[in-house]
């Protein structure tokens, strides 16, 4: 119940913040337009979506085999592989690796999966300094906040707010609202940090089973710094990130960058297949990969919801979601916001805790239309919505199925069902309601807080049709 209330409060707060809504509206419009410019030909787009969707389906169809192949090839490449069933296990494994290497200072490249396991908070509690190095993530960390978008983490912050936070933390630099100057100041600060770091942590965009390669997509170069400069590199990858062949990568990269930020390609596409070899002069001496489950294998078992795992985290569904645009990322209170967030998070954390998130959808279908790997998001959201109130076989895969069922709501719908399936009763009720229409209430729960309460008409549609001469009304 407290979760329900707090979601309502967060939504109320977001809806009352006009500045936030203006920021998100203009940012989303910008991203929508940039994406659309990248796909001038609808047939080309459809072909690329078909290809990308097939590649992801194929990878999932043989996921256990591909994970074993990936592990074998990574180990052959001298990259140590760890499996983590839960977030706690992943964090502990990372901590053990850092401790054994006596690592005290860690730099991190942008990675949603490390947000998901709350790695920063965990390492903080172990007195290991962990610094975000993607400019947006760095600014969000300075402000002691969380990212509000999976691709553009600081999208909720205005330049003024950023300048203020920046000058509070780094008074040695003159206050400026010039984006180029702030960027150059951050460059100076972070370059020293890369050199001082004992370890670098990154996520993974695609893990290629065939060659044992980790692929990273980025524009800034901080990802390359984190994975090349420190002596130790730890990569964290959700188990669904694996693809079978190297030839699977080009179409996915193509559609990922175009869908995410409307870029033909990002500045860097970094494919790492080995730590520093004996004759090489740079690169990390030691590399580890954490293969993280954290609920994914359960989603995998659930035939109806498995497509959730096709996601390549481009954020396109978020950018096109009218609910996200109104609320911004923080109102969701989750790591992944928007359509993919309300699909993935209740499955991971359970319906008792996050089932109400599924109401943050208008079923407009925009997300499914733009999804580069053709995930039928509205269908999945609708399915989850029904699971929140009606338990059936899905309870093997998702915690809390049916837990949001309210008895009063249930009774109302039972009565409704009864009336609608009995024509005589229906006729009596509709006649009564039209007669008593002047007595209808002005307020009706939370629903009428934001809407004008409709008034029943004096004449029912059935009667109107009859008057108009329809025989088979």
């Amino acid at each position: 119940m407290s979760q329900v209330k707090s979601l309502e409060n967060r939504v109320d707060e977001a809806l009352g913040n006009e500045q936030l809504q203006t920021n998100f509206r203009s940012a989303m419009d910008y991203l929508i337009e940039k994406r659309s410019d990248q796909f001038p030909d609808k047939d080309d787009l459809n072909n690329l979506r078909n290809t990308s969707s097939s590649i992801r389906s194929n990878s999932l169809s043989k996921l256990p085999e591909l994970l074993i192949m990936l592990e074998e090839n990574l180990e052959n490449n001298n990259i140590k592989v760890h499996w983590a069933e839960t977030d706690i296990e992943a964090n502990n494994t990372i901590y053990q690796i850092l401790k054994e290497a006596n690592a005290k200072k860690v730099v991190k490249g942008k990675s949603m999966v490390t947000e998901e396991i709350e790695l920063n908070e965990f390492l903080d509690s172990k007195n290991i300094e962990i610094l975000e190095t993607d400019l947006g993530e760095f600014l969000v960390q300075l402000a002691n906040e969380k990212p509000s978008h999976i691709v553009m983490p600081a999208i909720h912050k205005s330049r003024k707010e950023i300048s203020k936070v920046f000058s509070e933390h780094f008074p040695e630099f003159p206050y400026t609202e010039d984006v180029d100057l702030i960027t150059q100041q951050a460059r100076k600060i972070l370059r020293d940090r890369f050199r001082e770091a004992d370890a670098g942590i990154s996520g993974v965009n695609f893990a290629v089973a065939e060659t044992g390669s980790l692929c990273l997509v980025e524009n800034e170069g901080n990802g390359r710094m984190c994975t090349t400069v420190p002596p130790l590199h730890i990569a964290v990858a959700g188990i669904e990130k694996v693809v079978e062949n190297l030839s699977d990568v080009p179409p996915l990269l193509d559609i990922l960058t175009k869908s995410a930020t409307g870029q033909e390609i990002t500045t860097y596409f970094n494919m790492i297949s080995s730590p520093r070899k004996n004759d090489e002069k740079d690169g990390p001496m030691v590399m580890h990969v954490i293969l993280l489950d954290n609920g994914r294998s359960k989603i995998y078992q659930n035939t109806e919801m498995q497509e959730t795992l096709k996601c390549i985290r481009c954020g396109s569904c978020i950018n096109h979601c009218p609910v996200y645009t109104q609320l911004g990322g923080h109102a969701y209170g989750t790591v992944y916001p928007g359509p993919i967030g309300i699909t993935l998070e209740p499955q991971q954390k359970g319906i008792s805790e996050l089932g109400d998130l599924t109401s943050l959808c208008t079923m407009c279908g925009a997300c499914a239309e733009v999804c580069p790997v053709q995930i039928p998001l509205p269908k999945l959201i609708n399915r989850l919505r029904s699971e929140t109130v009606e338990g059936d076989y899905m309870s093997q895969f998702i915690e809390g199925v049916g837990s949001q069922r309210k008895s009063i709501e249930s009774i109302v719908w039972q009565i409704w069902k009864h009336i609608y399936s009995h024509p005589t009763l229906y006729s009596i009720c509709s006649k009564t309601i039209t007669k008593l229409s002047s007595f209808s209430p002005k307020k009706f729960g939370g629903w009428s807080n934001y809407r004008v309460m409709p008034k029943p008409s004096n004449t029912s549609l059935k009667e109107l049709a009859k008057q108009a001469g329809f025989k088979n009304e």
Binding site: W83, G136, R195, I272, K281, D282
Partner: protein
């Protein structure tokens, strides 16, 4: 640790999945560009990402360096052995040639704080996305293309491909993946503050691509 591996794999395997099932993946269409069209497309796309592109006969390279480096106030340039052998003799005294001789640890200070520019080879380029492709080696380590403010990269006109898929297929990457493979498509950039584009955030502020013709 193996315990988790077993739990995860057991769970995945318990789902009846058909490993022989494979959706047909349509091949990506080829554009059928001529060499000059590819050079044109590569240059256009790179320039859109704010890289500078120059095309010149191989033998003109040294003149270009001697003209351009002093103009750009580049006092020293980092190079691998192979390129150094080709240009060391003819490079004027205005530019000092620096070598990545030792391991990164003993070179870090000068790499980050003293070097103005670097020059590296590439294994090719991709016309349709406007990317140069690097596979760092002992001679040209990974950080050469990341740390200096200016990165100059040489592209042989014969090694320009239409697509990313083509270059990996033609060069047989899947059989012999090197430690690191990079697609670079412009100078380092960010749009994290109010979607305003800013260049040179962590990596090179300038990317100069020299397409060498025979």
């Amino acid at each position: 640790m193996n315990k988790s591996k077993n739990i995860i794999l057991e769970r995945l395997k318990s789902k009846i999945h058909d490993t022989s099932h494979r959706e047909n993946i349509p091949l990506m269409a080829m554009h059928g560009w001529t060499k000059s069209e590819m050079i044109q497309m590569l240059s256009k796309k790179l320039q859109l990402s704010k890289a500078e592109v120059f095309s010149m006969p191989n033998k003109e390279l040294i003149n270009w360096l001697n003209d351009e480096l002093p103009k750009r106030k580049i006092k020293n340039i980092l190079s691998g052995e192979q390129i150094a052998n080709e240009i060391a003799q003819s490079l004027t005294s205005k530019t000092e040639l620096i070598r990545y001789d030792n391991s990164y640890e003993s070179f870090s200070e000068s790499l980050f704080n003293e070097i103005d520019a670097s020059i590296t080879k590439s294994v090719g380029a991709i016309a349709d996305s406007g990317s140069v492709v690097l596979q760092p080696t002992t001679d040209e380590p990974r950080l050469m293309s990341l740390v200096p403010n200016t990165h100059i990269v040489l592209v042989d006109e014969e090694s320009i491909y239409e697509t990313f898929g083509q270059i990996m297929l033609d060069q047989n990457w899947s059989i012999n993946m090197p430690s690191n493979t990079l697609l670079i498509s412009g100078p380092s950039k960010t749009a994290d503050i109010e979607q305003v584009l800013a260049y040179g955030v962590h990596g090179p502020k300038e990317l100069i691509v020299l397409i060498l013709t025979s």
